[in-house]
């Protein structure tokens, strides 16, 4: 890569804040209805779980938490400034916020009689999550409870490093149905590395098992909505080298699900495989992709995210006119030593760590929550000074012992008695 100035050094290391900045509490309040029409308060940035498909979990490290009092004060302030009646407590994995129970207790005690709706997305599959939602939602309507097992067999969950047992899921489901929710939304992905049709069929079986638990508790009112999206490997993750499914493979898997997930109480949502391909090309493309994008635009591609405007053929034409194979970006297992188009960007996590994690996934080896044990992903050495200056619980990473202090000790003259 050509550098325009000497000051530019490759790779470019991401900049981070040592401590989350104050949340925005004065913002534009639109007159018309918008999506996500709520006050967003970020309670935590980053995630310690290390799911291998998750780009956010890899690039937002280290995990930094916002202190509980600051969260409550921010909600109070934003409500006073905006008058909006809904608050979203945001993070990649809300259950992992250290003070989640005290936070939820405090928030529900303080805001429930003011008719403020509090939402808490990204809860883990465990009964504590149900208690949390119970506290937050009070008597309000219980539309649906969302859980994201992502895969339905233990083997797949080990590959993606999201080890949740099916029994744990069923137990959580029982808890949800018995506490007044009628609908459970389950999010899965198809197309994980080495997935077979048996793994896909297990998704349908698991949905049916969850529904069966619901039937036992609330009868025919029980519902399961399965949202099955297609996995697209992302840069800066342990899966950045893996091929993704072809349109034909995806269609076969979706056909199986459509055939299996029928009947009362079951609903299935899926993604259009051709739209998935576009996302996949854009996700791991290189600089030649910009020519493809320009050509597709010249050929009439516009508003591609709107189903009625999306034209797969245009994109295929753009690739073929430029003599570029789309499969080069999507259906090829990339060698570990290949220079990747995003290697000049350093997200703080070492490539060596991603490589090791990729190899571990092939062996079905999992990693536990990195709060329990540091796996040396590379964040700490890169931001050691920052961590040293910001000790304590504001980061989930271990503290850095200060070499400066060691030196100091050495130079302190020993006082003779």
């Amino acid at each position: 890569m050509e550098t325009l100035t000497d000051q530019a050094r490759l790779p470019i290391l991401k900049r981070i804040v040592p401590k989350l900045p104050q949340p925005v509490t004065r913002f534009i309040v639109p007159f018309v209805g918008i999506t996500h029409n709520r006050i967003p308060i970020e309670i935590m940035r980053g995630c310690t779980r290390g799911c291998r498909f998750c780009q956010a979990g890899m690039i937002t490290r280290p995990v930094r938490e916002r202190p509980l009092d600051e969260v409550v004060a921010a909600i109070e302030e934003a409500l006073a400034h905006t008058g909006i009646d809904e608050v979203g407590l945001l993070s990649l994995s809300s259950s992992d916020y250290d003070d989640i129970l005290p936070l939820v207790e405090k928030v529900s005690e303080r805001f429930s009689d003011r008719k403020i709706k509090i939402s808490l997305p990204s809860l883990r599959i465990e009964s504590v999550s149900v208690q949390l939602m119970d506290l937050l939602q009070g008597q309000s309507s219980r539309a649906g409870f969302t859980l994201a097992p992502e895969a339905a067999t233990e083997r797949m969950r080990e590959i993606i490093n999201k080890p949740v047992s099916s029994e744990q899921l069923l137990e959580t489901a029982r808890e949800i149905y018995s506490r007044g929710w009628h609908t459970i939304k389950l999010y899965f992905m198809i197309g994980h590395p080495s997935e077979t049709l048996d793994d896909v069929k297990a998704i349908a079986d698991l949905c049916k098992s969850v529904l069966a638990e619901g039937r036992k508790i609330i009868g025919k009112r029980a519902k399961v909505h399965a949202g099955v999206s297609t996995f697209i490997p992302k840069p800066h993750t342990p899966f950045q080298w893996v091929p993704c499914d072809s349109v034909e493979q995806i269609e076969a898997k979706q056909a199986l699900l459509k055939q299996q997930l029928r009947g009362r109480g079951l609903k299935l949502n899926w993604n259009n495989p051709e739209e998935t391909m576009l996302e996949a090309w854009l996700s791991r493309g290189d600089r030649r992709m910009s020519a493809v994008i320009e050509r597709a635009w010249q050929l009439g591609a516009k508003f591609d995210a709107w189903q009625e405007h999306f034209a797969y053929g245009i994109w295929q034409d753009a690739f073929s006119q430029l003599n570029i194979s789309p499969d080069f970006y999507t259906h090829r297992e990339r060698p570990i030593d290949e220079t990747l188009p995003w290697d000049h960007i350093d997200a703080g996590v070492k490539k060596q760590f991603l490589t090791e994690d990729y190899l571990w996934s092939e062996q079905g080896r999992t990693r536990i929550d990195c709060r329990e044990r540091c796996f040396a992903c590379g964040i700490l050495p890169k931001y050691a000074n920052m961590r040293r200056e910001n000790p304590g619980e504001i980061w989930e990473c271990p503290e850095v012992r200060s070499p400066a202090r060691k030196q100091l000790l050495k130079t302190i003259p020993v006082i003779q008695p």
Binding site: V29, F31, V32, G33, L79, A80, H81, T82, G83, I84, D85, K115, Q139, S140, S141
Partner: protein, 223 residues
Amino acid sequence: MTIEDLTRYRLHFHKTKELRYIGHLDLHRSIERMLRRAELPVDYSKGFNPRMKLNLSTALPLGCSSTTELADFWLLTDLGEEEVFLRLLNATPPALDLKEVEKIDLKSPALQTMITGATYRVEILESINRTKLGEKIDEFLRAESLERTRRGKVYDLRPLVRTLEIAQETGTHQYLKMLLQVGEGHTGRPEEVLLQLELNPANCLIERTHLHFSSEEQGISET
């Protein structure tokens, strides 16, 4: 909290400037937010999905401004007109001009059932022959019925228009004044009147200037 503490307030406000492009439901939500920003002890409906008790007067057609909008809400604690007004004054969204807060009898009927008519003033922004316009108005008023189609439904516009006249000239433009019927299923729309007069509503500024209550019914013919 006892029932005796419950008080009903009526808000008088103008809907001006950019707010004319905001529809009825969005305005409703904006006022809900305003009441919450003002930190008033507003009453909510009971049940699983409590909703703020807030009644707006008859919907203003999109694109019209108004100097005569009303909204009723209920407070669990009586704070007094002045305190409520002051709190709201610091919480209004842009282009909503707060004019007055008035305590209303709890037993007073719902706003929507009380309003039977609305007066609109229309500024015609294009140059137009006053005599010809006058003739069209005469023709309009002479008609027994005026069949129009709106959203695929045929209806008679004539009985929905109580008065229609060229207003006093105050500038370079011509003004119309009209009093239209308000009521469920028989509400006159000002732009329909303009279309019937072969005027383009897009070249007119429409403002609602008065709401007529059933109690003042007798005075209406003079308006």
